[in-house]
């Protein structure tokens, strides 16, 4: 620390006329003080020692670069272009907190480019700065819908990430709370993974604030009835909220096209490493209608003129409705989120362009279907929803007599991370796992997986 130098400390003490540093803590009563020294591991003051210590710990991880991974389920291994890391790692973007619209101009512009490009992918005119995660975005969107409709029930699909659902339930508050939003679930067709529309229709009512669905859903299936869901929801006076993986939108229709009012989703696939889940981020988007705009909890960056003719800058809109502006009267709350990743996302989207999103979408969907096909040929393996998916699909091992746990252990021994085990969260699917295939996989990776599974299951 620059001022650790004793002479500097003394200069400062002399300047202020304090007898000692200790004296400066006079406000803290004696009986509030910690009575002993902190017992922490010894300092590693040299960078070389610290580096070595940390690296030795990190090396105890296995990673998806050394191993071949088919894990997905809300966090995916997509290719991260090198310049995403380069830009997000620039000291200028990495280290600041908050300045003025002029001193933060570059960063604010990058944020605006995040919202603008994501808006194009989504066909939506309002995109907020990211929130913590997809689940948090969904939770906020449901609360927005509840405020917009003054209703207190949300309908969600049974096929949903249990973690995300848990987040949503927390945002919906327990039933003892006055603003509690009841969460109703609707089932799915066992052969296709599509929503049970009859059940939806039965559960929709004048109490329904929102219908929330996802496409592709948590088990990978593209929801072909989304337009009908929208019509049903709107007929009931409910908001229609759709969760989406934006990397699918080069080839899949944006939810606005089939009637979504609010769109949420993840930002991680757009140029952010998995980071053991630390790459997670969520977005909220909607049409540019004042009723929606005035319910956003997140920060909103807008382009605006400066005092200089023909010059633009970027500033925060509607800050007053945030918790910063209105404390407990604000819309939910906001705070530090994952704004650095928004810059990575902006870089990613400008590298991709329309063609990049098309190419990556096509490659993913083809490879995922190829994987499903070759796995289906492995004795003992079934594909639960064999068509209509994007990058993920469910693999059932019941016929093999083996558990997912056993299969995955055997795969790990071969340097492969098998799909995420669904047996606890979706017991109806038996011994099933969620496999994700993306553009980082090659055909030979998939063939290797199939061969390994064939070997493992034949034992």
């Amino acid at each position: 620390m620059a001022n650790s130098v004793p002479a500097i400390k003394q200069e400062m003490l002399d300047a202020i006329g304090a007898p000692s540093i200790e004296a400066l803590f006079e406000q803290i009563p004696a009986d509030h003080r910690m009575t002993r020294e902190l017992a922490l591991p010894p300092a590693l003051r040299s960078e070389a020692e610290l580096r070595r210590h940390l690296l030795a710990i990190l090396r105890k991880n296995e990673d998806c670069e050394t191993n071949l991974s088919f894990l997905g389920g809300g966090c995916w291994q997509h290719h991260v272009p090198a310049i995403c890391d380069e830009i997000a790692g620039r000291s200028e973007f990495l280290t600041p907190v908050w300045g003025t619209p002029s001193s933060d101009h570059g960063r604010n512009q990058a944020w605006f480019e995040f919202t603008s490009q994501l808006g194009e992918l989504l066909d939506m005119e309002i995109v907020g700065l990211p929130v913590y995660s997809w689940g948090c975005a969904a939770g906020h969107a449901i609360r927005m819908a509840s405020r917009l409709t003054a209703r207190h029930e949300v309908i969600v699909p049974r096929i949903i990430d249990p973690e995300r659902l848990s987040v949503i339930r927390n945002y919906c508050e327990p039933q003892e709370m006055p603003s509690h939003i009841a969460v109703a679930e609707i089932g799915f067709d066992a052969s296709t993974g599509l929503l049970d529309l009859a059940e939806l229709e039965a559960k929709l009512s004048s109490r329904t604030a929102a219908v929330y669905i996802e496409t592709p859903n948590y088990l990978g299936v593209i929801e072909t009835q989304a337009g009908e869901v929208a019509a049903l929801a709107h007929r009931a006076g409910a908001e229609f909220i759709v969760g989406v993986d934006p990397i699918s939108l080069g080839v899949l229709a944006p939810p606005a096209d089939f009637g979504a009012d609010i769109v949420v989703g993840t930002t991680q696939p757009l140029g952010v490493h998995m980071n053991c889940g630390g790459g997670t981020g969520g977005f909220i988007a909607s049409r540019d209608e004042e009723r929606y705009a005035r319910e956003y909890p997140s920060l909103l960056v807008s382009i605006a003129e400066t005092v200089q003719p023909a010059e633009h800058a970027f500033g925060l809109s509607l800050l007053h409705q945030s918790s910063y502006g209105s404390r407990e009267h604000g819309k939910d709350w906001t705070g530090n989120s994952v704004y650095l990743w928004a810059i990575s996302n902006a870089v990613y989207m400008s590298l991709m362009g329309p063609e990049g999103f098309r190419e990556v979408g096509e490659l993913i969907i083809q490879q995922a279907h190829y994987a499903a096909k070759v796995l289906a040929e492995v004795p003992g393996v079934d594909i639960v929803f064999p068509g209509g998916f994007f990058k993920e699909f469910v693999v059932r091992f019941d016929a093999s007599g083996k558990t997912v746990r056993d299969v995955n252990r055997a795969l790990r021994e071969r340097g492969i991370f098998g799909g995420h085990d669904l047996s606890a969260a979706f017991p109806a699917l038996g011994q099933s796992a969620l496999y994700a295939v993306t553009e980082v996989h090659s055909r030979s990776d998939i063939d290797r997986l199939a061969a390994s599974l064939a070997e493992i299951l034949s034992r």
Binding site: I21, H32, S102, E113, T115, V127, T224, C276, H312, G315
Partner: protein, 505 residues
């Protein structure tokens, strides 16, 4: 750089990054992509994204980075404890051993991650006296929200949920406390401040009742004033049957000198992206480390990392857990960086950091109060302030019409990024709250003081010049009114294009 918005850049057909076509065997097996997409779910028109070459994308964002002042100059952004973010930590966090780890990997393959979590948990337990920490909350506010959720679960376990429906806080507590309490469904009672800088014990006693769920409070607050009755406060709330949550946003000045649990608090939170040296990233990725007593630990979000003396485990088998406040384990790279910060300092270094930040603030305080038009909150309290002081430019504003925001705008012309004003509501007129912290050298502090002095002189000599600042930044002062006007705000380029076209038609 006179840098266009990226949406205006590029040319049709230009490519930034490409992907291979699927292997022939893949296409042979499954056909082309269109046939795999269900009818009606294909995107009808491509998104109107820019079409750029890779070098142009890089150069564009390099330009934007250079137009971001932040820590390139001197930034004493109060309450955010601007620290040095060691590049070593960035280099390590970027390694595939962390960056390419999937959160759903089998725990056997996550031993490094879990060890970091556990080791850092132990360090925070030592710093706070709490019994268990989790790092799932993705920011300080999220940790406050977590506390509100934990409070609900605790109340439910005692059959008091719905009965105890009030959370008490103070006017000077960070807005995230009342806001997250309200979002979680609680009523918020906000205690006003007295002349000594904190609410009176009597006010607290009047506020608590059998409806009290919890107290959520900062101490010291961001005025640098320490509430010496805090132990009594905790006792009062506990006696009323509520929990006490310590928002440790202002931990920097008290590190090593007091521990939340020893003061009686049931839970606390630290901002790893501030106090613990991880970079802010302009607002995250962040972590609000949430720690609590053994009594509250069963309600923590899951999973919790455990250590059996040999290996680390993810404990998901926690029936009373509130579940998740955010998917996955938390922003692990931030935890790594915070752990690195603790290890680089050790106990002595942490104490030194607290010492230096309080020394520096009092030095700033002493020098700033010499300046014309500058005063501080609670002038009657002549005790040394903690690591921050709330100042006021009210006199300057009265004399010249130059506001604190005008001064901010002018200071950036000198390479000094905005100071923090104050959270809502303002206690003093035209507030400003610099936080010196332990990183900045005395030379930097002197520069900061000298720049403020210069701007104040300018304000008295030529207020219009200061009010129209900045004058040598990438762009001039933004007009505020359109940002609040539905006809003009434009949160995306497509909204801007539409409104511009409408305005012209």
């Amino acid at each position: 750089w006179d840098e266009p918005v990226v949406m205006e850049m590029g040319r049709r057909g230009r490519r930034g990054i490409m992907f291979p076509s699927a292997d022939q065997a893949v296409t042979a097996a499954v056909g082309c992509a269109e046939t795999l997409i269900p009818e009606g779910m294909r995107r009808p028109t491509p998104p109107a994204l820019p079409e750029m070459s890779e070098p142009d994308v890089l150069r564009h964002y390099l330009h934007l980075s250079q137009q971001t002042l932040g820590m390139m100059g001197i930034s004493l952004f109060g309450t955010c404890t601007m620290k040095y973010n060691a590049r070593l930590n960035e280099a390590l966090a970027a390694r595939p051993e962390l960056a390419e780890v999937h959160p759903l990997q089998n725990e056997e393959t996550l031993q490094g991650v879990l060890e970091i979590i556990h080791r850092f948990d132990l360090a925070l337990r030592e710093l706070s006296g709490m019994d268990q920490f989790v790092f799932q909350p993705a920011g300080g506010a999220d940790a406050a929200y977590t506390h509100a959720c934990v409070t609900r679960a605790w109340l439910a376990s005692r059959g008091e949920l719905g009965k105890r429906d009030e959370i008490v806080t103070s006017l000077q507590a960070h807005p995230c406390n009342p806001a997250t309490a309200a979002t979680a469904g609680f009523k918020v009672i906000t205690l006003p401040l007295e002349e000594d800088g904190y609410p009176s014990l009597d006010a607290l006693k009047a506020a608590v009742s059998d409806r009290t769920a919890a107290l959520m409070i900062n101490n010291p607050d961001d005025m640098g004033i320490y509430n010496p009755h805090i132990k009594e406060w905790v006792r009062v709330v506990h006696e009323a049957g509520g929990l006490c949550f310590y928002d440790h946003a202002n931990f920097n000045g008290v590190m090593s000198r007091l521990r939340a649990r020893e003061l009686g608090f049931d839970a606390c939170m630290y901002m790893l992206h501030k106090t613990f040296g991880a970079p802010k990233g302009g607002g995250g990725p962040a972590v609000g480390a949430y720690g609590c007593s053994a009594e509250l630990a069963p309600f923590l979000p899951k999973p919790v990392v455990t250590f059996d003396g040999k290996s680390y485990h993810l404990d998901n088998d926690r029936d009373d857990s509130i579940g998740k406040v955010r998917e996955f384990l938390g922003n692990i790279p931030v935890v790594l960086k915070a752990y690195a910060w603790v290890r680089s300092l050790g106990a002595e270094g942490i104490r030194e950091a607290a010492d230096l930040s309080v020394l520096a603030n009092n030095y700033m305080d002493h020098e700033l109060l010499k300046l014309r038009g500058v005063s501080r909150s609670h002038p009657d309290i002549d005790a040394w302030r903690m690591e921050m002081t709330r100042f006021s430019l009210g006199k300057l504003f009265e004399d010249t019409g130059v506001s604190a925001m005008d001064v901010q705008n002018r200071m950036v012309d000198y390479g000094i990024d905005a100071f923090w004003l104050s959270h809502e509501p303002w206690i003093v007129p035209q507030p400003f709250t610099p936080e010196a912290g332990e990183m900045w050298s005395k030379e930097d502090l002197d520069t900061w003081i000298a720049v403020l002095a210069a701007v104040i002189e300018e304000a008295y000599a030529d207020p219009d010049m200061v009010r129209s600042a900045p004058h040598n930044q990438a762009v001039h002062q933004i007009k505020g009114a359109p940002l609040e006007d539905p006809a003009h705000w434009a949160m995306t380029w497509r909204a801007y294009l539409r409104k511009r076209a409408q305005g012209q038609s």
